[in-house]
Amino acid sequence: MLLLREIFITEYFSFMKKSYQCLEDNSTNYMKQLTGRFLNSRILLSSLFFLITFSTSVYAQDGDPVKGKALFNTNCAACHTLDKDLTGPALRGVEARLNDEQGLDREWISAWIRNSSAVIKSGDPYAVKIFAEWKNTAMTAMPQLTDADINDILAYTATEKAVPTAAATGTGVSTDASSDSGISNQLILAALVILFVLLAIGLFMVNKTLRRFAKANNVDFVEKEPGKNLWQAFVQNQFLMLVTAIFLLLGSGYFVFGWMMQLGIDQGYQPVQPIHFSHKIHAGDNKIDCKYCHSSARVSKTSGIPALNVCMNCHKSIYEYNGETTAEYNKEFYDAEINKLYAAAGWDDANQEYTGETQAVKWVRIHNLPDFAYFNHSQHVSVAGIECQTCHGPVEEMEIMYQFSPLTMGWCINCHRETNVQVKDNGYYTKIHEELSKKYGVDQLTAAQMGGMECGKCHY
């Protein structure tokens, strides 16, 4: 298994490594080629310099903290948070701090944000100090930010820390709602039962009374002969026996067949995963595109379980969970799961560095197609443009991922029969679709008509 994941070295690889070294030397021309790519994730440092200048709110107030938050999330959040040192320092109240401690003003901060390297080069003592303190990593230059933008961002950094609010309201409501409906159903059922019992008693009473009347009025009341027992009659009637036997056999056959048919179908399979990964939070609450993480679905037969470095793209700066919680899934629970990721990826959150000690995460595979069926994600995702949810269900609502579709051949084929081929703007289909639709006399061909029901298209 391990060998399977062995990476091979190619010239390209060592080329990358080299250029990376060069980058740190700040020397050769590789720097130019690759700057954009690498700087993004590594360099930002300087916001510290924000700290230096002004005393807080006075200046900051003239910006719009709401706009500032948006700008911050776009430009700064990869390396900074308000309250925790990441690649760069924590920034809450940075302007006031810098002003109080270092006497640096907003002008200095702006200069630093737009081009920190220049400030460092100019020999500014605080700039040089802070550069050294942060592992000689310079902050990405942000020349695109206007004064107004910087004002907004600083206004955002100046906001007070919010008091954590008690969550669980939402959950409470939903529980109520569900119990409400439960009670009402039960009530109706109970009422019905009582009604039926009353009816039965009523009938019995009526019968009894009528008999009494009949007796009293001497109506000739014929008592039924103690005829043959129904069961005996049934047993003696061979025709009835035969019919019943056939029905029983057919019926049991039906159920046995139904039971057999669900063997090996894992619809609803919802295993416990080594890390509690909530698709609801990622794809639902945060609206991350499925294919951001499952990127190979566009080009490969497998959708791909994202490598841990993909997780770390975001989780380097998202070290805690601040969204909605429930009693079961509370903040501590989610934070512990994030720490599991850190342990696996070998990320030392305290020191903001990789330890190199990684361990593989052994996810439990949910969607298992048998080996003899070939399925290609890119055909469906890129060519046909099918939404992931079509087969995988409402993933964005799944706290725990489960298998939504049966993944049986009948299910595949049904979809092929019903789904039209996505021919728009696809040069491959132009000619074949025109000719074939004419042959079949339809406007739009289904996948099945295109040949998507031939055995060999999926079984080889």
Binding site: I9, T10, L308, P370, G427, G451, C455
Partner: protein, 1042 residues
Amino acid sequence: MSSNKKYWKSVEELNPKHSSDVEALKHKEFVQEIPVDEFLGDKETLETSSTTRRDFLKYVGFSTAAASLAACEGPVKRSIPYVVQPDQIIPGVANYYATAIANGYDFASILVKTREGRPIKIENNNLAKTHGNSNARVQASVLDLYDSLRVAGPMKNGEAISWTELESEVAIKLSQLKGGAKDIVLLTQTFASPSTSKLIAEFSENFGNVRHVVYDAISESSALDAFLNKYGERALANYDFSKASTIVSVGADFLGDWQGGGFDASYAKGRIPENGKMSYHVHFESNMTLSGAKADKRVPLKPSEQRIALAKLYGKIAGTSVSGNLPAHVEEAVDKAAADLLKAGSNGVLVSGIQDVNAQAIVLDINERLSSKAFNTTSPIKTRQGDDKAVNKLVADMNSGTIGAIIMCGVNPIYTLPNAAEFAEGLAKTELSLSFTMKEDETAGYVQYVAAAPHYLESWGDVELVKGEFGLMQPAIRPLFDTKQFQEFLMSLNGRLDSYHDYIKENWESNILNGSAWNQALHDGVFSGTSVAVEETVATEEAESDAAVSNVSDAARALASVSSNGMELTLYPMTGMGDGQQANNPWLQEFPDPFSRTTWDNFLSVSETDAKDLGLFLERSNFFNESSHDATGGLNGKYAIVTVNGVSVEVPVIVQPGQAVGSIGLAFGYGRYEGLKSEMQTGVNAYPLYTNFDPVQSVTVEATTGKHEFACVQLHNTLMGRGDIIKETDLKTYNTEDKEVWNPIAVVSLDHKETPVNSPKVDIWDEFDRSIGHHFNMSIDLNACTGCGACVIACHAENNVPVVGKEEIRRSRDMHWLRIDRYYSSEATFEEDNAKKDNISGIGSSMVDFGEMENPALNPQVAFQPIMCQHCNHAPCETVCPVAATSHGRQGQNHMAYNRCVGTRYCANNCPYKVRRFNWFLYNENDEFDFHMNDDLGRMVINPDVTVRSRGVMEKCSMCIQMTQKTVLDAKRDGREVDPNEFKTACSAACSSGAIVFGDINNHDDDIASLKDDKRAYRLLDSVGTKPNVMYQTLVRNTNDE
């Protein structure tokens, strides 16, 4: 002139004594009655048996149900992602890297296909100007990477040690020997590597008394020496056969491994009749070889006569007289060949495989005289550099104690040297012996240190294939074991600490690239530049033997003055096994010899006349006594003891049609017993007979007791009287007559009238319109196919075809999806044969007439016919499947849904081409079939896009539907139409001679569209009306009559 020749598959068909058996075999699969009575006849036992049939069925039913219920709970499967995903790896998408193989025997620029970082397939590198084609061995080399018996780390006297220890111990020893009286010897394969040469030169400079001896297991030393004498450079003349209109070969199997091989592409180019012209090929040889099989005129003659023939050829061309006696028909053929060559002038070319400096000098001289266009001395081949005399001297010096240290790389002298025992003694006398090897091979047992060498797919390297044409080797996977390259080892001894990659890059940038980009060269895997003068001095011994004569006409006279006595043996490399370094490769072991169609064995090939004289002939009159065939069709052979200079080996015998009388043949590469799984330890080692590196030896042969069981994939069945399987004509007929004459369409009876089979009226099926979308066809050119078998192995690798082993092959249970049938023919026409056969009345007449028909067996014509599933549009297999497991796609492919198959085998019975294969057993993860699919390492080669079949299902060629689907998907994703000639199958991509062409006939720009309408095209057994999607191009022979 008709194309309907008599083809026959085995000599038995022509034998007068057993006509009844052949007839019986034609009508029934087995000659013997199947012994049903044995197990059903005894009523009493059946009745008294405690288990009744009903009970049996109950048990079976119950246990099946129980087993299937027990299997209901699915296992938990894990998905383990990368921690850090390398940016060029996308799971599920293949990456291709250009690299090169240079294992001392096979040299080629290739592409390697990797999936999730695992190399799984070798492809041809079409950018390469030379050696860009892979043969069967190169195709199979990817499996060597995953050999479970590879050396996992360095060892000292059998104990594992670390590389640091090994290096320091060797460095100390070498520093003691430095500048001393005793030599330090590097005994290596041919690297043909500029960087390695430079490295060795530096090493020599460092240590002073270093001798580098290059050793090729199968030597081309005399050709190298002849070239050196004439052109001052130790290399081999290069040939481009596409430029030759007349090719004369005296014992040179240039379509095989002669001088490194790789000439088939250019040869095949000249063999396809275009504008009514194709090359004319005359071949003089002893053994039946691939080149001889393709020749227009093949002259079988003994090796000693080859020498005289070559000398006489020289005499005719140079106008001098050369004495010597040849049989009249050979003499005549030589005269004719000389005249043809002279007539062709610069369009003629002569090659020879005679291992004699004089012979090779004559060849060079004649080609110079002709100023042959096909002959190239300016960019000679560099892939053979071994020097016999230097090796001999080394062995002598080792035994006299003047060798201090010997470091070997890529050689296995204890196995390949004829005087291996001497070499072993010598090894004991050296103070330091070390061998770089991938396996614990024969030599590894005799050296102090075994250094684990990486596979070429784990290594860096460079190679100069022909002068000025370079290839780069890059690793496609991180080393699987604790291995180190020989070159890195030398570098650390030289005190360089960087990697061999850096060394090559530095060397290329300063000496070879001449300003071009390194990354581009690495990407392409090939680079055309100018050759660098290598400062290295390879140990060569002056040609001092009196056999080498400076004057060419003297050389011819010396060549002709041979005396032959007794039987002459020609040693040769077999197509699949080569020099034997890949003996632990089950794909190659199961690869059938192109002629005998034998697997898992080498054998002594003997002509029928000699076999009878020597008592090696198994009587075929009665199939069921001591005979050449078992009742099941398995071939048997007698054993012979072959003795050369007191060295004897016992080998099984096969009667080979076309083997020159008075000569025998035996293949190298078998009989290895170290570092091989027990199943692979097959055959007999021929190297002990390779005295003085001369493949031709005078031998004595005597019959001995015992019967050998061969595993042949052909000879099980007769031809069933179907003479139109291979259509053949000659160039004159082809040029002058209508297609109807030499490539007629079969006629069938419709209302008692002869109607062409392609008429819609005779068809009982409605035609399905396939004109929309893709419609795949494959064309196989019988003229271009050389029978090399690269396609067979490519198919193996691409489609996870299992290896079944010798026992199963003998039971006719081979699994090859693609086989290359070989048909011998007599020179008589089919009609004549038919008439003769029909006229036979009574035993007396059959004795005489079959006797006459036997004569052509002495020198038959040969045709190769690759056969895979023909993907019939009206497939007989599809209609008989009770569960619709095999069905037809609109694109023309005959689909096989393994999970639907219940294993009735009706389809195989109903297939007229016998291309369906049944999984009699589970061939993976089964200790009974201990081949690569039985260990974790070997299974890494499995193509993840193709199902690994289980027991009890039928399988067959899918026309690589996974590849056509991939091509279609790529086009869809790019939103474009599929490009012309973009569709490929594994076999068509591997075919270097261009014989197999695959494509979409609905795309009129595809090559296949024009091939379909070629007048040579015919469909196999078209009279059956199956309408195959595979077509064959009629074989045209150039009889060279005006």
